[in-house]
């Protein structure tokens, strides 16, 4: 049903239509509206049977999903930022045990300094956790990705993270086609677990595995996740058949034909990027954009196909790999191995800083003119950071006291 609603609410309603049987809830901004709405839906009887459990931490939330999923229930939770980090140990466990848990991540920065606004630092930190990661471009896709995520998770027996930008999407009110129960039921069959804790057929799940078999277990985890590269587009196709719209998939190229420059981005910034691409195309600039929906598994071949003919690629990163630069860029480079083209990493929108069309125009103009450096921090206040770097160079620092004394007397360079 098309309605004017909030992103979180559309996601919560869609999740409810997926009929989760256990929901573990712990509040953290900007995810709270999702579990609040689910609390109402369960309490009012709109979603049943479902156990909605308020837990004492994100670590417990993911742990509860592990237990529920192993016992054969469809399990769901949502989190963000520090909460995601607090559940990290259980995240790796959920994927290692092959449990098809679905979790919404309302993307948010990680402190210190504490910051509640949007970037992708949280989910990017979990890129190697064994979870499938899907990034929504808008609220329509955020809602639509959830039935697809459950289907994908349960087909492959792997957990799936649906990432949607905090506040920018979660708290935005817009026209969203919220799926209906009958549609979701037609698309997503009831969950049949691969293996379940059952007194009639006892199994031991979570045994200790030594060096003689651990590599094989990890290999199989990798092989299984690679199967998602086929499953994701197929499930997106099935979704289109039932719902009549394009959502999900591995990636979304936009005006990439005959493009010299292609901008790669994940999440909600893609809409702004497309607007700028349109305006630059009107000026005759051969530029295109590529949204990556499936960050894990990373669609190396599909990315290579789209980007291979370009002259240069600009990767817009919403997180920073401290000490090297870009996280997505490294994956894009892997996809392009053997192909010579200029690659640029742009760190943008950290901690909720708006990414404006004006800034993107300037950035892409620089790229097209060959003025873009390899690593750029978009809209960096250079005056401030230089002043601070200079101040830091002047102040006493921790370390051998002799060095400070020598510097104070001016003989240490």
């Amino acid at each position: 049903m098309l309605k004017q609603t909030e992103g979180s609410r559309a996601v919560a309603e869609t999740v409810a239509y997926c009929r989760p049987e256990v929901i573990a809830a712990y509040p953290i901004s900007p995810q709270t509206h999702i579990v609040e709405e689910l609390s109402r839906l369960v309490k009012s009887g709109a979603l049943k049977p479902c156990e909605y459990v308020n837990v004492e931490s994100e670590f417990a939330a993911m742990s509860m999903c592990i237990g529920a999923s192993a016992a054969g229930a469809r399990a769901y939770t949502a989190t963000a930022s520090q909460g995601l980090l607090y559940m990290v140990e259980a995240l790796y466990n959920a994927s290692g045990l092959g449990l098809p848990i679905v979790m919404t991540v309302a993307n948010r920065a990680i402190g210190a300094p504490i910051n509640i606004w949007n970037d992708h630092s949280d989910s990017m930190s979990q890129r190697d956790s064994g979870w499938i990661q899907l990034y929504a471009r808008d609220n329509q896709e955020a809602a639509d990705l959830h039935p697809q995520a459950f289907k994908l998770a349960e087909e492959l027996s792997l957990p799936v993270m649906v990432c949607m930008d905090g506040f920018v999407l979660t708290h935005a009110w817009e026209r969203i086609e919220v799926p209906e129960q009958a549609q979701v039921d037609a698309f997503l069959p009831p969950y049949e677990p691969r293996q379940v804790l059952d007194p009639n057929e006892p199994v031991s799940i979570g045994a200790m595995v030594g060096p003689e078999a651990f590599t094989e277990v990890r290999y199989l985890a990798h092989a299984k996740q690679m199967q998602a590269l086929d499953a994701i587009p197929r499930i997106a196709g099935e979704f289109r058949q039932v719902f009549g719209r394009d959502s999900g998939g591995l990636l979304h190229p936009y005006r990439c034909e005959f493009a010299d420059t292609i901008v790669v981005a994940l999440g909600s910034v893609f809409g702004t990027v497309c607007d700028v691409v349109d305006e630059m195309r009107d000026r005759g600039v051969r530029i295109g954009a590529l949204a990556i929906t499936s960050f894990r598994p990373f669609p190396l071949d599909a990315v290579r196909t789209v980007l291979g003919g370009a002259r240069q690629v600009v990767v817009l990163e919403r997180a920073l790999a401290v000490g090297v630069g870009g996280i997505v860029s490294a994956n894009v480079r892997t996809a392009l191995s053997g192909i010579h083209l200029d690659g640029h990493t742009v760190i943008a929108g950290l901690g909720g800083r708006p990414i404006t069309k004006e800034s993107l125009h300037r950035l892409f103009d620089d790229a097209v003119a060959g003025r873009l450096e390899q690593l750029t921090f978009l809209d960096l206040n250079t005056e401030l950071v230089e002043r601070e770097l200079a101040r830091m160079a002047q102040t006493r620092r921790s370390g051998p006291s002799a060095e400070n004394i020598l510097r104070d007397v001016g003989s240490n360079r």
Binding site: E21, E51, V55, S63, I66, A73, G206
Partner: protein, 335 residues
């Protein structure tokens, strides 16, 4: 259910636990030829492991009480490691291990799934050592208590992190030597502090049932499991399980040492319902703490090079306080 291996019986006709010559109402679960045999022999626990003994009795009793329908959730620790080295398992019941600190929450997830599916017949037992329970898992355990999740949680207390090589836990008693509370310095062993008494912490949550037990009282242990399984909601069982390796005791002494812990008053055995103590196991032959400490190498530094009467007296005061606090002394007790 897969066919359980035939249980072998070594004892007939004694008055020991498991006597098959007694009437059925007095027989222990272990005496039952059709017992669940939840934890089979052939696992890799050390000789004389109190935890293996306790786990077998507890899960067999839980299965009997629940008509065989029990799911066990295990924290990381000795019990998990010695029972499931891939590709083997000693568990004859559905069993799930996730992490060190999350067994109560995982168990709560299992219970929630069963509730959602309307399976009120299947019961959940969570279990872990004192490290997983008293320290790293305490937050999850408290959450499980607070929500009154329908789970029996069992803590196998061997008073240190035995799986990683005998390091101090929040349940390590003062003066005990561990790899991280060495028997050196002016006050060797674990420092005297406030202690962390988890049965009392559990009682403060006013959950329906809290009990302590030791592997010296196996009939009592079985009875408590049966009582706990007759109750819905959060239940907590704290079992003292001596560790021959960590405590430096003889493998054949596990039960005797556990009994001494009871008889000294250092480990009070009691039951509590809704936060109030309702029953205690009285001490019939009171024993000075020294008798308990002396056979254990973890307390060897209290006896040589010189006898640390001050420390022993301090521990005696702890035992005396427990005896007074819980009213442990039987009227006919030998002082």
């Amino acid at each position: 259910m897969s066919a359980a291996p035939q249980v072998r019986f070594y004892q007939v006709g004694s008055f020991a636990a498991g006597n098959r010559l007694l009437g059925p109402e007095l027989q222990s679960d272990q005496a039952d030829p059709a017992r669940a045999n939840a934890l089979t022999c052939g696992h890799r626990a050390c000789q004389g492991c109190g935890e293996a003994l306790g786990a077998r009795y507890i899960l067999d009793a839980a299965q009997r009480a629940a008509g065989g329908k029990v799911i066990a959730v295990n924290a990381t620790g000795c019990l998990e490691v010695f029972s499931t080295p891939y590709p083997e398992t000693s568990w004859q019941l559905p069993w799930l291990h996730s992490l060190f600190g999350n067994a109560p929450a995982v168990a709560a997830g299992v219970a929630a799934a069963l509730r959602a599916k309307g399976r009120t017949d299947i019961r959940v037992v969570g279990q872990g050592g004192d490290g997983g329970t008293v320290d790293i898992g305490l937050g999850c355990l408290s959450g499980m208590f607070e929500r009154n999740d329908d789970i029996l949680y069992v803590c196998y207390d061997n008073e240190a992190y035995m799986n990683t090589g005998v390091q101090r836990s929040g349940a390590t008693p003062p003066a005990a030597r561990t790899a991280t509370t060495q028997a050196v310095g002016e006050e060797p062993g674990a420092p005297f502090g406030q202690g962390k008494n988890l049965p009392l912490i559990a009682m403060a949550h006013e959950i329906p049932y809290v009990a302590t037990a030791t592997v010296a009282g196996l009939r009592d242990l079985e009875a408590k499991v049966h009582r706990a399984m007759g109750i819905r909601g959060a239940r907590y069982l704290h079992v003292l399980v001596p560790c021959p390796l960590g405590w430096g005791t003889a493998s054949h002494d596990t039960v005797r040492i556990a009994r001494l812990a009871e008889q000294t008053g250092l480990f009070p055995v009691f039951e509590a319902v809704d936060g109030e103590v309702t029953d205690v196991t009285p001490i019939r032959r009171r024993v000075p703490v020294e008798e308990y400490l002396r056979p254990q190498k973890r307390y060897a530094h209290l006896f040589k090079p010189e006898v640390r009467a001050d420390v022993i007296a301090h521990l005696q005061r702890t035992a005396d306080r427990n005896i007074a606090r819980f009213g442990l002394l039987a009227e006919e007790a030998v002082p």
